[in-house]
Symmetry: D2
Subunit: 255 residues, 4 copies
Amino acid sequence: MPIQENDYVLILAPDDKTFLSQVSSEKKLSTHLGMLNIADVIGKNYGDKIVSGLGNEFYLLEPTTWDKMMKIKRLTQIIYPKDASIIIQKTGLGEGMRVVETGTGSGSMTIALANAVKPGGKVYTYEKRDQFRENAMKNLQTAGLSEYVEFNAGDAREGFLQTDVDVALIDLPSPWDGVPAAAKALKGGGRIASLSPTFNQVEENYKHLEEHGFIYLETVEVLVRNILVREGKTRPTQRMISHTGYLTFGRKINK
Amino acid sequence: MPIQENDYVLILAPDDKTFLSQVSSEKKLSTHLGMLNIADVIGKNYGDKIVSGLGNEFYLLEPTTWDKMMKIKRLTQIIYPKDASIIIQKTGLGEGMRVVETGTGSGSMTIALANAVKPGGKVYTYEKRDQFRENAMKNLQTAGLSEYVEFNAGDAREGFLQTDVDVALIDLPSPWDGVPAAAKALKGGGRIASLSPTFNQVEENYKHLEEHGFIYLETVEVLVRNILVREGKTRPTQRMISHTGYLTFGRKINK
Amino acid sequence: MPIQENDYVLILAPDDKTFLSQVSSEKKLSTHLGMLNIADVIGKNYGDKIVSGLGNEFYLLEPTTWDKMMKIKRLTQIIYPKDASIIIQKTGLGEGMRVVETGTGSGSMTIALANAVKPGGKVYTYEKRDQFRENAMKNLQTAGLSEYVEFNAGDAREGFLQTDVDVALIDLPSPWDGVPAAAKALKGGGRIASLSPTFNQVEENYKHLEEHGFIYLETVEVLVRNILVREGKTRPTQRMISHTGYLTFGRKINK
Amino acid sequence: MPIQENDYVLILAPDDKTFLSQVSSEKKLSTHLGMLNIADVIGKNYGDKIVSGLGNEFYLLEPTTWDKMMKIKRLTQIIYPKDASIIIQKTGLGEGMRVVETGTGSGSMTIALANAVKPGGKVYTYEKRDQFRENAMKNLQTAGLSEYVEFNAGDAREGFLQTDVDVALIDLPSPWDGVPAAAKALKGGGRIASLSPTFNQVEENYKHLEEHGFIYLETVEVLVRNILVREGKTRPTQRMISHTGYLTFGRKINK
């Protein structure tokens, strides 16, 4: 189906730089390799190319969840796609599930969660800081996933409105602030996941998880190393991100 | 909803050993911590516990995709959940998408793919060795995901029957054997992913990917380190899996 | 110079298994690939081979410090050569320097220290448990480095007998127990190194290091990944040691 | 012994920035935290402090080998101390040994080698590019290790002048160019070490090593991760060097 007005497109420059853009017949996109006339995109298909004012070819790609997460407007630290990937598989998310998340932050994880449960499921995300919540709402709109997300201004320490949810994702500076609320919201056998930058936070969190009926606790760190592939000279890149946070998982039992 | 006959349950022993079992009123499960009467499970809820003949408590958990992948009967090397997680996010899989996969192997990746696209999508998986295909079919049944998978005995070198698919996953000893077929099956902007244990295979694969209209090529390795959490003594585990394979990603353009 | 009675030799089997043996005309060495007559070694040179009773060829190699460290009789956990290597360079050890070490443990680190400062320097090593100290003394003898080491039965908490030493190495369960003694023993600008398996110990140690006049504190972890090299199929090994301990370094100022 | 004219001193700023300086009564050192009068250093001891024109305290430290390696003037890529540390232990270097090295590059590895074999041993280092050799000579002088190094303008492909050496270190773009020369220069049981950024180079090197009588071949990669230690908030740094090169080791047999 050809690309239409209001669709989102990931535009790939010849040097592998990318631009996430909403299609509009009025729009022009200024790049380091020339001006792009976004009207040219309309009627093309993903996989086609357009040419910049400077004569460079740009390809039109369908944005993936990973692309969308990396392109959001960030007002906070985000959960990186590498960590989000492991969280989604480890908690067993799938279409139709219901998830609570706190805090929303800039919404990068919310995008991954919404993509995993859509269209039958729902993400209930809590962010008490108005500025962040409003930014995240816009980011979810850009990602085309707003309808699967319910935004809430409440504080996790006061509990979630939902019950019987499948998964709870806690991304708070003190993740244990969200543990009692998660324990109430989750169904039996439901999964909790949280992310903390230090071991001390992980240890503190374990105490609260154990108190609130979580078992089968596991913690991992995820490292992704980029490989520079060149004929006969392939090697890892010389620098990498060596730390984001430790991921902790548990399952809710019925006491 | 209470657990019924034929449901699947992940049974957690007090020492965190797990058993994936289909519920049947006749079944007994012999464990290192006593005999379990599977009839006891019927009518309980996920999160409840049962007691073994030796008096030990076992918890009843809902199996996640990750659990299912690790519990399949293996006749081949499998794609590990850590790699599957990154593949699914990086290729942007979601409900309703259509994926081709070759080869099926033992079906661990097929489980992850089916879970990502269900219920509206479909995985078309190719495995020419009958013994492996039949084992994988049983594994998908155990995972409760058979209806989202179409098994095929064809060889990827002879092409796929599908066109306009969103994602192609190539897990062959020589991944380039599947590249021409993937290029024909994928829609414009569709994503390809493959896994190879060596750099030489990655390099060879790049040549074929470039020839067949794939761009934005990326290769990564994923390392997951387990953390042993104990009050005041948290540290990484002393041994880890340090290599499975390199993951390569690309996107299809229209030539 | 040909190998003589009482020399040490590293004997390499065809499958890369190694045996560290002291040469004696009476000795026989039973291996998985046949019996070796150690008398055959006398008069040969390093790099020569001998043949086992089963007709297999074994090579005679000069033991390196690394070999010696890995071949000691272990009654305790040892500091691994990967960590010892970094400690020796980071503390700037060289011929003629004087080092205090506590505790000796099985003496693997003592071997590395003695090799670094010999012949003009000295390692003063403290181990209060008689059984460990006696084992370490034998290990140092096997390594041919006894004359550069002074063994001491004292407890680090009661102080070291030496002053004006260049480097202090603390390998205690609570490394801060050795910090006051190290601060007194070290000359101005002297280096301290310690190894701890957990972050909490590192943090506690920092408090004591700062209190006792240590500055320029640094902590690292060292990971060594083995590569399996085979024509066209080179890849990392599938498992690795992912944690031994965190290394902490500091320098002594004059207060 | 107090610091004298012409001694080297590592000067540590309050923010852990360091300056390696040769003492001279005339010299002034301009820093981001004020001007230092180097004449003030004379007569002080390592571990003492001096005060800058802006009133900041700087500590006087004894430079370690690691410090010296990092502070050389670089005209080429250098072998990093993390890799040098492993090379020195793995090849069993110690006082009195004789080593050949090619190419010298900027001399960072030469510093580590000279420190390991001094005073009775010698490093014979080969660098055919005059500009690099002259820079390395100055760097060795700054490190105070010139007298243990013999510089040579020859090309490794034409052989080394030395025989019966203990260790050969090959740091060439095509390390196999140095293998035949190393095989001739090494004594039986002698150790070779080389560093290559890619697997393909490692594989090619293995062929030449095997042809020239090297056995017990091993390849490793060394990763050092810095830990940011802060009370209750300790964590790895967020970025790290993820690749320098693969280290290959072997031992020479007598054919």
